[in-house]
Amino acid sequence: MRGKFSFGVCGIAALAALSIACITPLRAQSAQSIEQKTQVCAACHGADGKPADKTIPVIWGQQAGYLYIQLRDFKRGDRKSDIMQPIASSMERDEMQAIAEYLAQKPWPDLGQPRASKDVADRASNANRSIGCTGCHLDQFQGDGTIPRLAGQSREYLTKTIADFRSRARGNNPGMTDLMLATAPDDLAALEEYLSGL
């Protein structure tokens, strides 16, 4: 999420939350409840699961395995983000997994994004048939395990992260980079509109 990341109010809130987390003694941190630990997430990803900025992904109700792997990758530096890397860097594996499972249990929020038109849906469906999105993201794009749910994800986030895969700014899944590079931009735009409206 480097470069194009929109800081705005959310970035400030996250940094504030982060500095609180950083100055809290370690022992107190480990005694924190999961609700307290995930307060830092709410600053950007939304206290009600609706992200503060549309280029930030929905994480409520997201697949737990996927959330864990992203935290792990932020910590390792495999996925870059000036915001997420410092947050994940202090987390141990168990903690990441507990947070991932906690967030996965939350209800997926309705962002109120419109259904795609039939033409757009057909174009998205053809693109899926060509590269096989549902081979991993599964029927109805609900994801599973380490594969994220795409249905109802923020359209602006989808646009941004697909662009980041294509430019390799998001480097923690070269398989996705390959597939996104193999798909025409117009088809990707249709997929983004279609998926966000599911």
């Binding site: 495999d78 590269i131 899944n173 070269p174 390959d178 193999a182």
Partner: protein
């Protein structure tokens, strides 16, 4: 007590009250604990398993028997009466996702699995559920091509299951309770399990998925009683370079740049540690020689050969091992340094075949994604012949390009994981094929720590028609005996029976029986979801059944369902 019983009890109580105290209300005893929830099966012996090819009542192994012939010897259902076949029962599983299970039947009890590694024990006569094992999946699963599971095997009183989160589980055959569980490999590094284990002589044999994630593939043997590891055979040896083969097993030039590969080898060394080589399907076992025969899948990354110099042994190969020790016996590589993912997946079959000199010898069959059925000498794995191509082949072997190069077959085959069937009496092998025109595109990226590592993309070409077929091949000549075209690519499996029939299903929900000698369709049924699983057959109460899963398919995106459907004559 359910709501109905409470209401009844209240009513009875009220009646008693009205009748006055002169009668003493008899206590209504609750029924004794139902016997449902228990599968009444006798322990399966090794002798039973060894003779599975002759059993006309049970279906004991994923592919029918250790030779994996998928030839069922019962013939109550035959060419004349198959038109009367109808649904005996339907069982609806709790999971509506890709069904690839081969139902296993022991003494009238059926074991089926679903996506996400569920197991059900059913009464094979009625379809009534006896127990359900709902595997608690680990947080991390990394898998290609769907959350599939292809079934279980039973030995003694244990049912063996391999799970999506790469665990091996032994369940009590009567109750479904876990007896032992062991980790096969780390799912965070790209390992997962979708195949059914093969159990023999107190060993549980299991391969692994992960060729799309930079794993190092293996076949492992575990102690069937304890779950303790006995041996591991790494499908990628430490010296994976091989002989710099420039032609495939059919003699076609693969356009390798050997000098560039040698330069890369000098620079980065042998790539064996992350070279892939999954084993998706069960080994066939030669009980006479104590050898196992299986095929190894593609190298990682699938399409980018620049980072993996050499032949990439033993990817895309037939491999034989000694059952007791796991030691290498022989191999034959179909495609060295594969950059198309046209690998070896469909399970091997052991039948007697005509050798090069026309004499009958023990052979091995494998149906490739290339669209050929390969016929081998079981003694040394050498290739005797390969069949005529069952699907269109165009532009082989053009190298993948950045823009995408068109080549047929597409990356799913030919024959995918789908097991073939054989009729040794007729000398025929029956394979189901896909025809999906694709472009092959290459990209370069470093090993991504257990993430999807394709090294490019294979894309179905929009506007180019896809199709499928059922093909019968004479494995003693390599000639196609008959072929039935289907409107969609075929994936799932096929069964041949002594009734002169083959049974197979399509993604559009059609499940049909064909005359095994000429391919004439004799019966069909519409299941309402893709029939993309291998059928089984069995007998209960003197009646023969055909059973198949109709759950669609993730990989080819066929309509999903959740039904296990059994058919009988009356």
């Amino acid at each position: 007590m359910n709501k109905f019983s409470i209401a009844c009890a209240a009513l009875l109580g009220a009646t008693g009250l009205l009748a006055g105290p002169s009668f003493a209300q008899q206590e209504v005893k609750q029924e004794a604990k139902s016997t449902s929830g228990q599968a009444k099966v006798s322990p399966v012996t090794q002798a039973q398993l060894n003779a599975a090819d002759k059993s006309t009542t049970n279906f004991l192994l994923t592919n029918g028997n250790y030779a994996q012939t998928r030839f069922y010897p019962a013939k109550q259902i035959d060419r004349d009466n198959v038109k009367n076949l109808h649904v005996a029962w339907i069982f609806q599983t709790d999971v509506k996702e890709s069904l690839e299970t081969s139902p296993i039947v022991v003494d009238g009890v059926m074991y089926v699995t679903t996506s996400f590694s569920h197991v059900y024990a059913l009464d094979a006569k009625t379809g009534v559920q006896l127990w359900h094992y709902n595997h608690k999946m680990g947080l991390v699963t990394t898998y290609c091509c769907g959350p599939n599971n292809r079934g279980v095997q039973v030995l003694g009183d244990l049912v063996y299951l391999a799970t999506l989160d790469a665990k091996l589980v032994a369940l009590n055959a009567k109750t479904g309770d876990v007896v032992w569980k062991t980790d096969i490999a780390d799912p965070e590094l790209g390992y997962s399990e979708t195949m059914a284990p093969t159990v023999i002589k107190d060993k549980v044999l299991i391969g692994t998925n992960g060729g799309e994630y930079g794993i190092r593939g293996f076949v492992k043997a575990y102690d069937a009683k304890t779950g303790k590891l006995i041996w591991t055979f790494n499908t990628i040896p430490e010296n994976s370079v091989g002989v710099w083969a420039t032609k495939d097993a059919t003699g076609r030039d693969m356009h390798r740049n050997i000098q560039a590969e040698k330069d890369q080898l000098a620079k980065t060394g042998d790539p064996y540690q992350k070279l892939g080589g999954g084993v998706w399907q069960n080994p066939a076992i030669d009980l006479a020689t104590n050898r196992i025969y299986f095929v190894v899948g593609n190298p990682s990354p699938d399409l980018d050969g620049s980072v993996r110099p050499g032949d990439n042994l033993y990817t895309n190969s037939l491999v034989s091992l000694d059952l007791d020790t796991g030691k290498y016996v022989c191999h034959l590589q179909y495609i060295a340094h594969d950059v198309w993912d046209l690998d070896a997946v469909s399970p091997t079959v052991l039948v007697d075949v005509k050798g090069k000199d026309g004499k009958t010898i023990p052979g091995v069959l494998h149906a490739g994604k290339t669209g050929h059925i390969y016929v081998h000498d079981r003694k040394d794995c050498s290739l005797i012949r390969f069949s005529e191509a069952m699907v269109p082949q165009e532009n082989m072997w053009v190298l993948p390009t950045k823009e995408g190069a068109r080549m047929l077959p597409g990356a799913n085959g030919g024959v995918e994981w789908s097991p073939i069937a054989t009729d040794p009496g007729q000398g025929l092998a029956y394979a189901i094929n896909l025809h999906q025109p694709m472009t092959y595109q290459v990209e370069n990226s470093p090993y991504p720590n257990g993430k999807l590592w394709l090294g490019g993309a294979f894309k179905a070409i929009p506007g180019e028609a896809q199709a499928g077929n059922i093909t019968a091949v004479d494995y003693n000549t390599g000639k196609i005996k008959w072929q039935v075209k289907t409107p969609e690519p075929m994936i799932g499996g096929i069964l041949a029976t002594a009734g002169g029939l083959v049974f197979t299903g399509e993604g559009n929900g059609k499940f049909a029986a064909y005359n095994s000698s000429n391919g004439k369709e004799l019966w069909n049924f519409r299941a309402g979801a893709g029939v993309n699983a291998p059928p089984s057959s069995y007998m209960v109460g003197g009646k023969q059944y055909i059973v198949v899963g109709a759950g669609g398919n993730t990989q080819v995106d066929f309509h999903r369902g959740n039904n296990i459907i059994a058919f009988s004559l009356n």
